[in-house]
Amino acid sequence: MKPDRLLKWFLYGYLGLVFVFIFSPILFSIIFSFNSDRFPTIPLGGFTLKWYETIWQDPDVWEAARTSLLVSFSVATIATFLGFTTAYTDYRYRFKLKPLYLALILLPPTIPLIIMALAMLAWFAKIGLSGQVFSIIIAHTVLTAPFAMAIIRLRLSQMDESLEAAAWNLGANQWRALRRVIIPFCRPAIVSSFCLTAAVSFDEFAIAWFISGLNKTIPVVILEIVTGNIDPQVNAIGSFVFLTSMTLVIIAQVVLMTKNKTEKENHD
């Protein structure tokens, strides 16, 4: 009993430390974004919205935000579509070379980001697509589609195998069964995969930095500001990015979890 409790508190403590290490820099960045002093020192200066006003008036930041939103929305749409179609082909069909097919799809996250970024840069330069918004979308889609596929595949694996056949049996052809049964069943996974891929793309720096050219995304702009000088407006942008990503991730989690909960009750 006693060692068990000790272990439990030790693990809680460990978990707590992990959270502190992850979130304290972010928390401080948020705090300093409202600090009137130019340098992040303690004691803090007065409260100010100056840095937010600065970025609000900075056309570069606006431009980057617009690019980032466009990219992450397009990436989320394409990656979720690809993820769904791949997961469904895996679920529905048996074919030769299927392990190869799945390995190919799951490959991108195993490649180091820098290597992938360099490879993308070289490739896009070669085919004359470098520095375009379009190329960032392609690169990010390659990076995020595996996540979408994994989430939707998990959902499909929870589906009663008779469900699709039941739709056929009731007069739905394959296409209508897909639209009326498979997609509604996967909706929570589709929504959460959309949010997650959007969040990953919105945050992603390495690839974007290599191939964005003049169409900078938010993370690229942040780096440029940081390298130029020490400026608390970075904290303000950071807070904004953090808020966006967190919102997307939390939506994704909530959608997935509430659905699982109702289904668990349903099995009792």
Partner: protein, 362 residues
């Protein structure tokens, strides 16, 4: 033959090297309640899935009303199936589930709604029409699944072990509901089950399958009293099977010599065994007479009592004969109480040769 609805003509179904269904020939009449029964893996569900178009026969033809159905895809058939898992759509409520088939057939929203509600009412779950599937009980879900299949007014309804998830009380109630429904609608029910009690309680005809083949087709009573072969006799249960060599044959009856002596068995008509052949016969546990004193003559075996199984008014006694073979006897609990077997230990079982049923060697 004229009003047969479904015909299986030399149907074979293979999955790779595995033959799930082997040369199946049988017909199902309009308005008939047919149960397909057998142990798991015998091919009964595959047979049902071929009817629904979810599997294509590897050889032979499946015909419905004379039309060859082999190449007709599932969604173009009118063969609704009640699934073992029910397969209700969890993201739709009860009424929307029932409407699904009508919607696929292009019925307009108002008519769809009315017909769905009518069916839910008919199955006594009208008040749950707008409820989520997850909030319904097992029996209510069962009724939604039935309504969903019947709302399109099919000629045939396929059922794949639909009651296997319900508790015993509910099974009895659902059985009588299904039988009543089938009589009222006058449509064909094809019911796959591994449960003998379900098949015998509801079906007009029972098809017993074993390893992809039909072991016997007949009324529940035929199957119970006159099994065609050893598999059926054992599968139905509570049967004693005795084998031996045919000693003599009179055309009407044979004398079988087994390790427990000679037994006279009447012949039903089909089998014509000749002396020297191997042969077996079945004597049902409830047709055996039990006594503590040796009967004067006739078929009899001396046994000792091993155990008894009490299931209410009827008791099954498990006896052991001289050669170690088991013998089952089913008698009324009241009768057993009068006999006081515990003291004697030895008992004699005997039976009328007319009651024994001859089966071939196999």
């Amino acid at each position: 033959m004229t009003d047969s609805l479904v015909e299986f003509d030399s149907v074979v179904k293979k999955f790779g090297d595995f033959t799930a269904v082997e040369r199946m020939n049988f017909t199902i009449d309009e308005g008939e309640f047919v149960a397909i029964m057998g142990p798991s893996g015998c091919g009964k569900t595959t047979t049902l899935r071929m009817l629904a178009g979810l599997e294509q026969p590897s050889e032979g033809e499946v015909r419905m009303q004379g039309r060859v159905m082999n190449a007709v895809p599932a969604h173009e058939r009118d063969t609704p199936l009640v699934w073992q898992s029910l397969a209700l759509f969890p993201f739709l409520n009860a009424r929307e589930n029932v409407e699904f088939g009508l919607q696929m057939r292009g019925v307009d929203a108002a008519t769809r709604r009315k017909r769905a509600l009518d069916w839910l009412d008919r199955l006594e779950i009208g008040e749950f029409a707008e409820r989520d599937i997850s909030s319904l009980s097992g029996g209510q879900k069962q009724r939604v699944a039935l309504a969903r299949s019947l709302v399109t007014e099919p000629k045939i309804l396929l059922l794949d072990e639909p009651l296997s998830a319900l508790d015993a009380n509910l099974v009895i109630r659902m059985q009588s509901m299904l039988t009543r429904l089938q009589r009222e609608l006058g449509i064909t029910f094809v019911y796959v089950t591994h449960s003998q009690s379900e098949a015998f309680a509801m079906a007009d005809r029972v098809v017993i399958m074993s390893r992809g083949r039909i072991a016997q087709i007949g009324t529940p009573k035929d199957i119970y009293r006159a099994p065609d072969n050893r598999f059926v006799a054992e599968f139905v249960g509570r049967n004693n099977i005795i084998s031996g060599k045919i000693k003599s044959s009179s055309g009407k009856s044979v004398l079988i010599n087994g390790s427990l002596g000679d037994f006279k068995v009447s012949l039903g008509g089909r089998a014509k065994p000749s002396p020297g052949d191997e042969g077996s016969f079945v004597i049902a546990a409830d047709l055996v007479h039990l006594s503590s004193k040796k009967p004067r003559a006739g078929n009899q075996i001396e046994c000792s009592l091993i155990s008894e199984e009490f299931i209410g008014s009827v008791v099954t006694l498990f006896l052991e004969a001289r050669d170690g073979s088991e013998f089952k006897v089913q008698i009324q609990e009241r009768e057993l109480a009068d006999m006081d077997l515990k003291h004697t230990g030895k008992v004699f079982v005997s039976w009328d040769p007319e009651r024994a049923h001859y089966i071939g060697a196999d």
